[in-house]
């Protein structure tokens, strides 16, 4: 298969940031294609700068390239300037590793982390020369597959995808590869596409949308049912039981041009059981699986040496909860002491003095600002969302930050939460003002930035039944905050324009009927919608009107207990009645402790799959209440690393 480099090369001098199309990263593999190897094009439906650091794709890239039956390359969305030139000259989407045309691959796999990238997915499939609707594809076309957090409700894009993967990809990717390899070796004969898809639907974690019929009664969705008896009624997610078996990425890609998260990233655990009710990631990635500290140390040490980075991030949904985090951070700092300066970053900081203590330990240089996420402005509201941070916790954290030399504090908040009143919204301003007051004892002009985002409810969370705030209502609340802080010296309110929340809401919780809207917006040129300057709400509302899609019904309506949700035939392990009870608890302002350190309340994520939390220590980290409701009075099964499950706290 010839590559497109000769046609591409003269175009690259004409486009912005051409280094994003040349590959050559340290860590990139030299692809060796062969008739008995399945060729994967791992793709991210956004620019290279956003897509390259994606850890999920990098992990799969390595696992596939280690497999003698597979070869993997990568592709990212070409920016509009290059897309124009490609379309003018009939040059297809290409891999950046060897610049092969996308249609020469057996599968094109997408990571979907944000709903607003859906139109880019269609655009890339089209640029690949593949029909955007799966029903129109023939045996010669690659299979279009998607994974990532958005695929827990893939229904809006179900008509465009051949295969959807739920959960951790490390193991299932190999199973898919084997089935596709048989198909490839058999010559992909006429009519074989349907057979391979049906075969793939037998793999746990694989959802094949075309194998299901959707039934509506009037406006209501009433059922999504398999068309064949051998296709599962409910597709379960995949969960890697032990992260230690997958020390990936082993050779993280080091890009030549600047990207987001441009540093060494080492995942220290997966899953989170804090139970924040707005957080889809925390719900769908359970249980908690820690990487052994020794492995983390090795990955950091070898990674820094190999990449030459001077920064390492310990990633997870809540890194300060890692067992023995203080020792781990201390060890890393010590091991890099005699070399050039290395900074360690924790992308998520706990809101208490303990968290600041760790930050002080690691940010010896570049001490500029610290970020905390109380998420809501009043204790009442934080009980609703189960982010059980006491005001004292926040103040002790802020006090510690200022007294340790930080000058700027940034606070993250959501607005548009269930039961939110204006008093709750204005509580954000009050918290920020109080933090400025605390800072005055330590610095002349303390600065507190309150960053406010509009809340969009997500599937498989207790808030999946909640009718979200309208764009107008979110704007009103943000204006309320701005007015209230206008004269508050030292307080800045930053906000994301909530204009996209309606579209995000419809894509998050929509059914297959909204697919036409995505297609229409794409056909009208609506790509890169996650880029603020390119998002066009009119394009979406016009498309919805043209196709009879009612935004109120999809986004603003509260769902009822027994309503069939578009993702009910998929499973993240969580029992629906657990989520419903948690939703009722939220409305009753009742918090729920972290089950890592307290008794199990059978959400389903462990018990349903016979897996358990893997934590090195069953003792909650010291310091601060963290609102974890730490009550070890009852027994809870915990797997200690490398040992059989033990019962603690009894």
């Amino acid at each position: 298969m010839t590559d497109v480099w000769p046609q591409l090369e003269p175009l690259l001098a004409k486009v912005a940031k051409p280094a994003r199309y040349i590959g050559l990263e340290d860590g990139a593999r030299t692809p060796h294609h062969a008739p008995d190897k399945v060729a994967w094009l791992l793709s991210y439906p956004d620019t290279y700068e956003i897509g390259l650091p994606n850890q999920g794709l990098q992990i799969l890239y390595e696992i596939l390239n280690e497999n003698p039956h597979a070869v993997a390359e990568r592709a990212y969305a070409p920016w509009t300037d290059l897309e124009c030139l490609l379309r003018d000259r009939n040059i297809p989407l290409f891999s950046i590793d060897s610049h092969r045309p996308a249609s020469a691959f057996d599968l094109i796999g997408f990571n979907l982390s944000a709903e607003l990238t859906y139109t880019n997915l269609l655009n890339m499939v089209d640029l690949a020369g593949v029909p955007v609707r799966s029903a129109e594809r023939r045996p010669e076309h690659p299979l279009i597959v998607a994974g990532g957090h958005c695929t827990y409700n893939p229904e809006p894009i179900a008509d465009f995808l051949d295969i959807v993967v739920l959960g951790d990809g490390e193991e299932v990717i190999t199973e898919i590869n084997e089935v596709v390899r048989d198909w490839k070796m058999s010559g992909r004969t006429d009519g074989s596409r349907e057979n391979v898809l049906r075969e793939l639907s037998h793999i746990v974690g694989v959802y094949v949308p075309s194998m299901y019929d959707v039934t509506y009664e009037g406006a209501d969705l009433v059922a999504v049912t398999p068309r064949y008896s051998d296709v599962p009624e409910r597709v379960e997610k995949r969960t890697v039981a032990d992260l230690a078996e997958f020390p990936y990425p082993k050779t993280q890609l080091v890009p030549i041009t600047e990207v987001v998260h441009d540093r060494l990233n080492v995942e220290v655990f997966r899953g989170c059981t804090r139970g924040c009710r707005f957080c889809q990631a925390g719900m769908i990635t359970r249980p908690v699986r820690e990487r052994p500290a020794e492995q983390v140390r090795t990955m950091v040490e070898e990674g820094l040496r190999r990449t030459g980075y001077d920064e390492v991030a310990l990633t997870s949904l809540s890194t300060a909860d890692f067992s023995g985090i203080e020792k781990l951070v201390g060890d890393i700092v010590k091991s890099t002491d005699d070399g050039p300066p290395v900074s360690v970053s924790l992308p998520s900081l706990r809101v208490d003095a303990f968290g600041v203590g760790i930050a002080t330990q690691i940010q010896r240089a570049r001490r500029t600002g610290l970020t905390f996420a109380p998420e809501a402005g009043t204790w009442r509201m934080r009980q609703v969302i189960n982010k059980l941070i006491l005001e004292e916790d926040l103040y002790s954290a802020v006090e510690a930050a200022y007294s340790n030399g930080w000058r700027r504090v940034k606070l993250y908040f959501l607005t548009g939460l269930p039961t939110e009143t204006d008093e709750d919204t204005l509580g954000i301003a009050e918290l920020a003002r109080n933090c400025v007051e605390l800072g005055k004892a330590h610095t002349k002009s303390p600065s507190v930035t309150a960053s406010v985002g509009g809340f969009v409810p997500k599937p498989f969370t207790p808030f999946q039944w909640f009718g979200q705030n309208t764009v107008e209502e979110l704007r009103r609340k943000i204006n309320l905050l701005r007015d209230d802080t206008r004269k508050s010296h030292g307080v800045q309110v930053k906000w994301h324009d909530p204009k996209a929340t309606l579209v995000e809401g419809i894509m998050s919780r929509g059914d297959r009927r909204v697919g036409v809207v995505i297609e229409e917006v794409w056909r009208q040129g609506g790509t890169f919608q996650e880029w603020n300057e390119r998002f066009d709400l009119d394009l979406w509302t016009n498309a919805m009107a043209a196709h009879g899609i009612d935004p109120d019904w999809y986004a603003y309506r509260h769902r009822t207990e027994h309503e069939v949700l578009p993702w009910d035939h998929l499973s993240a392990g969580l029992h629906k009645d657990f989520l419903w009870q948690d939703w009722r608890d939220a409305l009753a302002e009742v918090g729920l402790p972290d089950c890592r350190w307290t008794p199990c309340y059978d959400c389903g994520a462990c018990t349903g799959y016979s897996i358990e939390h893997i934590v090195a220590s069953a003792t909650p980290p010291a310091g601060g209440s963290q609102g974890t409701g730490q009550d070890l009075g009852r027994s809870v099964p915990v797997t200690l690393l490398g040992r059989a499950p033990v019962v603690v706290g009894s």
């Binding site: 000769p6 090369e9 051409p18 590959g23």
Partner: protein
């Protein structure tokens, strides 16, 4: 101790920017565990001084940077093998050609280099036509261009910055677009003339194909020399990772 490094940049990597290369170098120096001096203060950085920026998409046979090494560790670094030691840590297409020790009193690369030699491919033009273009340009006494400076359009004359132009012939067979190729000697001081400005000053303006910087010159008392002597680049550099 300050060392000067000469390297080439050829092939796909030409599409990386000057800033990209700076970051690649910082990572490479850390990977090679070279005892580079670090700036004091809030945000410590390695003491590395880059030469004239090379435009994104241009190749080069002669790029330079100066590196300050810590004392006394720096003096034990084997400079003879340093090129081979550094190249594997740099992106494919970047090859370290030579290293030499320089005095700290020496002018910085950006001040010292006053002239660059360029090899410029012009797509869609015959060598004969290009010969006429070049003659006309060299015969002109002024070449007015409009430049943008601080957001304002300013009239400028680039003729004095054009030292010499020579047509070489037809483009080589591996050129992405066929045409003719010429060599240009362009001043970098007092105001630099960029290859793109040169092509735009032809009548009619010519398109830019591949552009390769072949030399950077320091002129002392009328004699020209390269920041690191040319013999170090005697091996065939064009092959290194060109594709």
């Amino acid at each position: 101790m300050r060392i000067r490094v000469r390297y080439s940049k050829l092939g796909k990597i030409r599409f990386s920017s000057h800033r990209d290369m700076a970051r690649c170098w910082e990572r490479a120096l850390r990977r090679a565990e070279l005892p580079v001096s670090i700036t004091e203060g809030f945000s410590p950085r390695p003491k590395v001084h880059f030469g004239l920026a090379l435009s994104t998409s241009h190749e080069s046979l002669g790029e330079y940077l100066d590196i300050d090494l810590q004392e006394p560790e720096g003096s034990s670094v084997d400079l003879g093998t340093l090129p081979e030691r550094l190249t594997p840590f740099l992106p494919q297409g970047v090859v370290v050609e030579a290293v030499s020790v320089i005095e700290r009193s020496e002018l910085s690369l950006q001040e010292a280099v006053t002239v660059c030699t360029w090899l410029i491919e012009v797509p869609g033009v015959s060598p004969e036509q290009l010969e006429i273009d070049v003659r006309t340009m060299l015969d002109a006494t002024t070449l007015p261009v409009i430049r943008e400076r601080k957001g304002k359009k300013v009239a400028d004359d680039i003729r004095s910055g054009i030292i010499d132009l020579r047509v070489i012939g037809a483009t080589p067979s591996d050129a992405p677009e066929q045409g003719a190729v010429f060599e240009a000697e362009l001043a970098t001081q007092p105001r630099s003339v960029r290859p793109a400005e040169l092509l735009a000053a032809f009548d009619p303006p010519r398109n830019e194909g591949r552009v390769r910087r072949t030399h950077q010159w320091i002129i002392t008392d009328g004699a020209r020399r390269e920041p690191i002597p040319a013999h170090a680049t005697a091996r065939a550099p064009a092959q290194a990772g060109a594709r």
